[in-house]
Amino acid sequence: MTNGLVLAILGAALAALLAGIGSAKGVGLVGEAAAGVVSVDPSKFSKVLILQLLPGTQGLYGLLTAILMLSRIGVIGSGAAELTTAQGWSFFIAALPIAVVGLISAVFQGKTAAAGVGITAKKPEHNGKGIIMAAMVETYAILALLVSILLIYNINI
C-alpha cells in the first residue's frame, strides 16, 4: 500500500467521520428539544421529526463522499490503485470541504432546527418557517459536497 493510498483513505474516513459527528450532534440537539415538546404535546411528533432529520443530511453527504472516493481509488470494486503521494494529498484535500463544512454546518443547523422546534411548539401553523430557516444552513453543506465531488472526479490517476 502506497503513502498516496493511505492519504486518500484517510481523507475518505475524515469525510465520513467529521460530517457524521456534526450530524450526530445536530440531530441529538434537535432530538432533545423535540422530546421536550412531545412530552407536553405528543400530537406534534411528526412536525418536530422533520426538523430533527435536517441536520442528519451532512452525515449522509460525508458517507456519499467517502464511498465515491473509495470507489474512485479502487478500494471498493476493481482493486486499490497505486497512488503517488501527490495524488493521495489531492484526494485528502478533496475530502476536506464536506468533512469540515459538514461538521460545522450540521452543528449550526441543529441549533437552528432546535429553535425551530420552539416555533412548532408555540405556533404549529408556522412550522414551515422553522424548516426553511434550518434548511438555509443546508445550502453550505450542499456546496461543500459539490466541491468535494468535483475534486474527486477531476484528480488524474
Binding site: 421536550g36 415538546v37 432546535a114
Partner: protein
C-alpha cells in the same frame, strides 16, 4: 448560554400555549359567574389537565432542568418568608405549617425542628446566618417588625449575591428589579410611619439600581422628599404611580418584572425562558386571584381591567 436546556425550553414553549392570553382575560372579566370563569379557564387548559399551581409549575421545571441552579433564586422570597413564619410560630408556640408558602427551596418539614434546635448550619448557606441573626434579634427585642426587616433585607442581598454568582444577566436584572421595588415600598412605608434612620437603614437593602444611602436620606425627608428623589432617578415612573396609589405601584412592580421576562421569549436555549415561564405563571395566578376577588366584591369591569398585570403571551 450555549445550547443548555434545549429540552426544557422546548417543553416550556409547548406549555406556554395553555397560558391565558389577553382575549382570555377579557372573557374572564366579562364572565358573570364564578362557574363561568372556571369553565373558561378549564377550556383553555384542556380537558384532563391539572389546575395551574406554582408548585406544579416549579416541579415541572425542575423535572426538565434539575441542575438549573439559577431558578432557585426565584424562590428566595418564599424561602425567607418561610423562615419568618417558622421563627414567629416558634416564639408564639404555634404550628407553622399553615403559614408556609410553597414552592420553596427549603425542606419545610425540617425547618421548624432545625430552628428549634438552633442547628442553623443545616440550612442552606444563603439563609443560615440570617436565621441565627433573626432568632437572636426576635428573642432579644420581641420586635417582629424589626426582625422582618432584617430577614427581608437579607433576602434581597442573598438574591443579588446568588444572581451575581450565577453570571446570568437575566437573574442579575431580576434581583435588581425585585430589590428596587422592595426598597421603594419599604422607604415609602417608613416615611408614612415616620420611622427613625436606624430602622430605615435596617429595612432598606440597596442595589446597583438604587443607592441605599441616598434612599435612606430621602426617606427621612418625608414622602415629598422621597418622591422628588425618585423623580431624579430612573424610577420616576414608579414614584408617580406610588404617589397616585400603592395599588398602581404594585402593578408597576409586577409589570417591570414581566417586561424582563418578555426578553426571554425569543431565546431557544438557556435558563432564562424557564425563569420567564415561572414568572408568567405567577402573573397569571395573580390575575386570576384579582379577577375572582374583584368579582366577589362587585368591582366594576374597568377597575378590574386596570388592575390586570401584564401577560407573557
Amino acid at each position: 448560554m450555549g445550547t443548555k436546556y434545549a429540552n426544557a425550553v422546548a417543553a416550556v414553549r409547548a406549555m406556554e400555549n395553555s397560558l391565558l392570553s389577553r382575549s382570555d382575560i377579557e372573557q374572564l372579566i366579562s364572565s358573570a359567574t364564578r362557574s363561568e370563569l372556571e369553565n373558561i379557564v378549564a377550556a383553555k387548559r384542556g380537558t384532563g389537565s391539572e389546575e395551574l399551581t406554582l408548585e406544579g409549575v416549579w416541579d415541572t421545571l425542575r423535572g426538565y432542568a434539575p441542575d438549573c441552579r439559577e431558578l432557585e433564586i426565584l424562590l428566595y422570597r418564599n424561602d425567607f418568608h418561610n423562615l419568618k413564619a417558622a421563627l414567629k410560630s416558634m416564639i408564639a408556640g404555634k404550628e407553622p405549617q399553615g403559614y408556609y408558602i410553597r414552592p420553596t427551596n427549603l425542606d419545610l418539614e425540617a425547618l421548624y425542628p432545625v430552628l428549634s434546635a438552633k442547628e442553623y448550619e443545616q440550612l442552606p448557606e444563603y439563609i443560615s446566618d440570617t436565621a441565627a441573626q433573626a432568632y437572636e434579634l426576635l428573642t432579644r427585642t420581641l420586635d417582629g417588625q424589626l426582625a422582618d426587616s432584617l430577614v427581608d433585607t437579607a433576602c434581597m442581598k442573598a438574591m443579588q449575591a446568588a444572581a451575581e454568582k450565577s453570571g446570568s444577566d437575566f437573574m442579575k436584572k431580576y434581583a435588581q428589579l425585585v430589590t428596587v421595588c422592595a426598597d421603594i415600598k419599604t422607604a415609602y412605608r417608613c416615611c408614612r410611619m415616620k420611622k427613625q434612620r436606624s430602622f430605615i437603614e435596617t429595612a432598606v437593602c440597596g442595589s446597583s439600581g438604587l443607592d441605599k444611602e441616598q434612599l435612606v436620606r430621602a426617606s427621612l425627608g418625608g414622602t415629598e422628599g422621597l418622591f422628588s428623589f425618585l423623580e431624579s432617578t430612573s424610577w420616576g415612573d414608579a414614584a408617580r404611580l406610588l404617589a397616585e396609589s400603592p395599588a398602581k405601584f404594585e402593578k408597576w412592580c409586577d409589570d417591570v418584572i414581566m417586561e424582563l421576562a418578555e426578553g426571554a421569549r425569543m431565546q431557544a436555549f438557556g435558563a432564562d425562558p424557564l425563569a420567564a415561564y415561572f414568572i408568567a405563571a405567577e402573573a397569571e395566578l395573580k390575575n386570576l386571584r384579582i379577577i375572582t376577588v374583584c368579582k366577589e366584591s362587585g368591582t366594576d369591569r374597568e377597575t378590574i381591567t386596570e388592575r390586570m398585570r401584564k401577560l407573557y403571551v
